[in-house]
Symmetry: none
Subunit: 222 residues, 2 copies
DNA sequence: TTTTTCCTTACGCCATTTGTAAGTGTTTCT
DNA sequence: AGAAACACTTACAAATGGCGTAAGGAAAAA
């Protein structure tokens, strides 16, 4: 069953949530120490985070923002305040859903289930700024379009994305493609880059890869 | 700006929604003819669908289900009924958010903006029950794994998904692969199905395709 | 201009995909 | 049980696409 992490400072409310979720069959973890919450959640690596807004110290909004910039799973914001402003703010920071407490038990479970389903099995796509890349198959997504890169093109683009916006040396790329830096025709890498750029052009992603003369390549953006 | 399609039968409500969204800068289209709604939406290809539940003829739930099996963008369900059951049902069918009307203007816009941001640039993957399928490249996702199907395997799986859980006749599949039903070696289709099943086994998706003797094939689930 | 670095295009080899063929297994009907 | 219809599997050859190699052109630096 899915793992859910609860971030809620009110002990009573926390226990009740734990109870509800456990009875629903979830593997529940609750944050007890309200310092370094983001790090704790990262370690727990839950499938979903149930996040209260009014917390001692760090605001729930901050946590939400931090988690989302790391590409975590779904976040369900839970707060006692019934202010519309909170909802707007929460959603604005990238929360995936929002509920006011006290909340209906069935509604809570339904929303959790829905969020989990929406994220379940969803590919761990890597955000490349103006596109997404599947690191397994090298399927490249932009808008409603998608194409599959060949193995070499995919490997190159993936490392460029992972190092964005830093420069990746030609030496590193040769190592990536052929396991070694030496005894490789200098031109082989060039050709592969030309091919990659040509493929990117199909999705209107021209001028994404920048050449740094004498040093290597880098991806624009960020 | 993003394109939004409104599906709402009450003219007053519809005009108000159109007004709100247009003033917010969206490119708005509204369904006027309430027949073949799904086909109309598919043609419009909006970035988001605002979907009322109580409609003349086809239920909003049906439309939601159909759209989701085609890999459309986000769907925001809008209904006057304040029944929890509706919400549960709507979310269960894969709607991405839910609001009861009359709804606050700012809240509506915030939810729309949030949905659009969450889906922006994200691939329109089709939910196949226990997997996801990219209809363009035929990249198949299950959990953290993914593989790219060959053209024939992809076409077959895609139509099976789109018709799930109904039976797809062999004749229809032959038409799909070769454009015609006649003069095709009966065996050719079999071979392609064997290959597809073998590929699916790589992702532990055995026994997904069921053979209905004398009629065709169908995908399990739903 | 000369030199260095990078880009582009074309060619041939190799792997993957696909239709064809042939044989085996399974269900249904008499 | 036997036969016929239907479905599945494996193997092989042609077509397709990816890849390294080669050679020449373009652009930047000296």
């Amino acid at each position: 069953m899915a793992r859910v992490t609860i971030v809620e400072d009110d002990p009573l409310m926390r226990e009740e949530l734990i109870d509800i979720l456990q009875k629903a069959g979830y593997e529940v973890a609750a944050i007890a120490d309200f310092q370094d919450i983001v790090a704790q959640i990262a370690t727990l690596a839950p499938d979903l985070v149930l996040l209260d807004i009014n917390l001692p110290g760090q605001s729930g909004f901050e946590i939400c923002k931090s988690l989302k910039s790391q590409g975590t799973g779904p976040i369900l914001i839970l707060t006692s305040r019934d202010k519309l402003q909170d909802e707007l703010h929460g959603l604005d920071l990238g929360a995936d859903d929002y509920l006011t407490k006290p909340c209906n038990r069935d509604r809570l479970l339904a929303r959790i289930q829905n969020l989990l389903r929406r994220f379940e099995g969803r590919p761990g796509l890597i955000n490349g700024g103006s596109f997404f890349l599947d690191p397994n198959t090298f399927t490249l997504y932009k808008g409603s379009q998608s194409i599959v890169l060949s193995a070499n093109e995919g490997k190159i683009l993936l490392t460029l994305v992972q190092h964005r916006p830093e420069i990746v040396s030609k030496s590193a790329l040769r190592e990536l493609l052929w396991g070694t830096d030496q005894y490789i025709d200098e031109n082989a890498l060039q050709v592969n880059l030309t091919r990659l750029r040509k493929t990117l052009r199909q999705l209107n992603l021209e001028d994404q890869i920048e050449t740094i003369r004498g040093q290597g390549y880098r991806l624009r953006g960020r």
